[in-house]
């Protein structure tokens, strides 16, 4: 018993520290979500030749705050026929998995809640738990659209989980580590997007599908399943799903930056930056700069996500699943194979780039052909009809 007291004291300090840092993470992520909501409204508005929010504060900056207040004040309806326990637990599971992922995502060398040696594996493990929340949400609402949406989300998210994990494995092979800080350090010279562009494309597309952003928002498609798993949710409960979706989008963008765009490392080495007025050599200044650089990269990726939302129409569910299993999964396996060959034979780096670009172009062309097939067929039929008409006219003239 004598050894227990100091142990408990250490434990208590640790626990308090843990709670404080978790709260800090929660606050930071909430601010990020507010900024994302504003950015999305503004970007979408501009893409659709509108102004976006302008009335609330400067440039409509307070619009997300107004949205949040509206959501929280809204009546929270729990349908009578719903399975109350599951209805309550589902948003909690979704939000928990969204926040748990951020525990190990570093914003810079020193700014990470808990760096894990198996960081990437941890992230994939907890991302899967989120799917469970969606399925349960659909089931718990006792709504046919809800159940359909839940099943859709399970099918979609499990299918797109495979390419995400496989590409992560390829990156882990390149860096010889699953520790996100080591992976970023390994990209000091060449970011992995130059080595494995295929990996980044697959990860980004499958990541979009994982968080249900627009070309892939099948499971909560308003025109098909009227909101899917969220159909019966309103007010604060619904806003938890909303929060989790935006946090997950941010996580995917952050992972794209960490795994492929070099994280917080600068594109130039110190010698090339020597002409700049030298900064005071304080640790936190450098840290702050790299956090800002990291965030800039992440927001650039996020902007592409919003841009895609403003540009592409929604896929059909059969197209979605076919794309996952016929294009994404084979491509991700191809990424592992070429990475393995490259590492085993110790070829020069450009061979990996060439191999992955070849795969990307070939599969891209096949997908393009498939997409254009209906149009091609229509053109064929029209040509045949025109030929028949011409033939008939010719024979009539002959007789």
């Amino acid at each position: 018993m004598q050894g227990l007291a100091p142990l408990l004291a250490v434990g208590l300090v640790d626990v308090i520290w843990m709670v404080v840092s978790l709260l800090a993470m929660f606050t930071g992520l909430s601010i990020v979500v507010l900024s994302l909501v504003w950015l999305e409204r503004k970007a979408l508005g501009r893409l659709q030749l509108r102004l976006g929010p302008t009335r609330t504060g400067l440039f409509g900056l307070l619009q997300p705050v107004a949205d949040a207040i509206k959501l929280i004040l809204k009546e929270d309806i729990i349908p009578n026929s719903s399975d109350r326990a599951i209805f309550w637990v589902a948003p909690v599971i979704v939000a928990l998995s969204a926040f748990m992922i951020w525990v190990t995502i570093p914003a810079t060398e020193g700014l990470v809640l808990r760096n894990l040696e198996l960081g990437l594996f941890y992230i994939t493990a907890f991302a899967v738990i989120g799917i469970l929340g969606l399925v349960l949400a659909g089931w718990g609402s006792a709504n046919k659209y809800g159940v359909l949406g839940g099943l859709r989300s399970a099918a979609q998210l499990i299918s797109y989980e495979i390419p995400v994990i496989m590409v992560v494995v390829a990156v882990g092979m390149l860096a010889k580590s699953l520790d996100l800080r080591v992976i970023v350090a390994a990209q000091e010279q060449i970011p992995y997007v130059a080595l494995l562009p295929l990996g980044m494309v697959v990860f980004f597309i499958a990541g979009l599908a994982e968080v249900g952003r627009t070309p892939f928002d099948i499971y909560h498609a308003e025109s098909e399943v009227v909101g899917g798993p969220f159909v019966e949710y309103s007010g604060a409960h619904w806003s938890v799903f909303f929060l989790a979706e935006y946090i997950n989008t941010f996580a995917i963008a952050a992972l794209v930056v960490l795994l492929f765009l070099g994280g917080w490392s600068w594109p130039f080495d110190a010698a090339a930056l020597a002409w700049l007025p030298s900064l005071p050599d304080i640790a936190w200044v450098g840290g702050l700069l790299s956090v800002i650089w990291f965030l800039l990269k992440v927001y650039a990726v996020i902007f592409v996500v919003f841009w895609i939302r403003g540009t592409f129409p929604r896929l059909r569910i059969d197209q979605l699943m076919a794309f996952a299993w016929k294009a994404m999964v084979p491509l991700s396996f191809y990424a592992i194979v070429i990475t393995g060959v490259y590492l085993f034979y110790d070829w020069p780096a450009w061979t990996l780039t060439v191999m992955s670009l070849t795969g990307l172009v070939v599969v891209g062309y096949i997908v393009y052909r498939k997409m254009m097939e209906p149009a091609r067929r229509i053109a064929e039929i029209k040509a045949r009809q025109a030929a028949q008409v011409a033939e008939r006219r010719a024979s009539r003239q002959a007789s």
């Binding site: 599951i86 899967v128 799917i131 349960l136």
Partner: protein
């Protein structure tokens, strides 16, 4: 501290297991199973088996429970969600007791080394898994493949009869 954690996690493991058996609602049973499995992952963490804990969360907490829910929702349990036992329960109880006895005997009989924070690194684990134990590993994946094919065959024969 670790004793305290162990007691909490053990409680959740057992309570989850009990909930699976006792609850009348199949979906609730799946949720209880989730609680139990995640608590087991926590137990692995206490034993410094980080990798095993994450695998437990990924495979059991994520994949297996999702597939279970999928099966529950795709079959017609929606129309009768409250049928969760049948007349075979004494047999099941006997089987469970037998497994319990075997596990208990094995536990009493074996000499379990104490774990330390310096658990084997992830790389060592991978090395032994893919060199020393490569064949069992491959056989395990073959078993999964056989199960997959079996499921497809069962589903297809049902289609022919219709």
């Amino acid at each position: 501290m670790s004793w305290f954690l162990f007691i909490i996690l053990a409680f959740f493991t057992l309570a989850g297991g009990l909930g699976v058996v006792v609850t009348r609602n199949v979906v609730h049973a799946a949720l209880f199973l989730l609680v139990s499995l995640v608590a087991v992952a926590g137990l692995y963490l206490i034993l410094f088996a980080e990798f095993l804990a994450l695998v437990q969360v990924l495979i059991y907490g994520g994949a297996i429970i999702i597939v279970l829910l999928f099966a529950i929702m795709l079959t017609r349990t929606a129309e009768y969600p409250y049928i969760s036992d049948n007349k075979q329960w004494p047999l099941a109880a006997v089987a469970a007791a037998a497994v319990g006895v075997v596990l208990g005997a094995a536990f009493l009989d074996s000499n379990i080394p104490e774990t330390s924070p310096n658990s084997p690194a992830f790389a060592d684990l991978a090395n032994s898994l893919f060199t020393t134990w490569a064949i069992p590993f491959e056989v395990a994946s073959l078993v999964l493949l056989v199960a997959l094919i079996g499921a497809i065959i069962i589903a297809r024969t049902g289609e022919d009869n219709r």
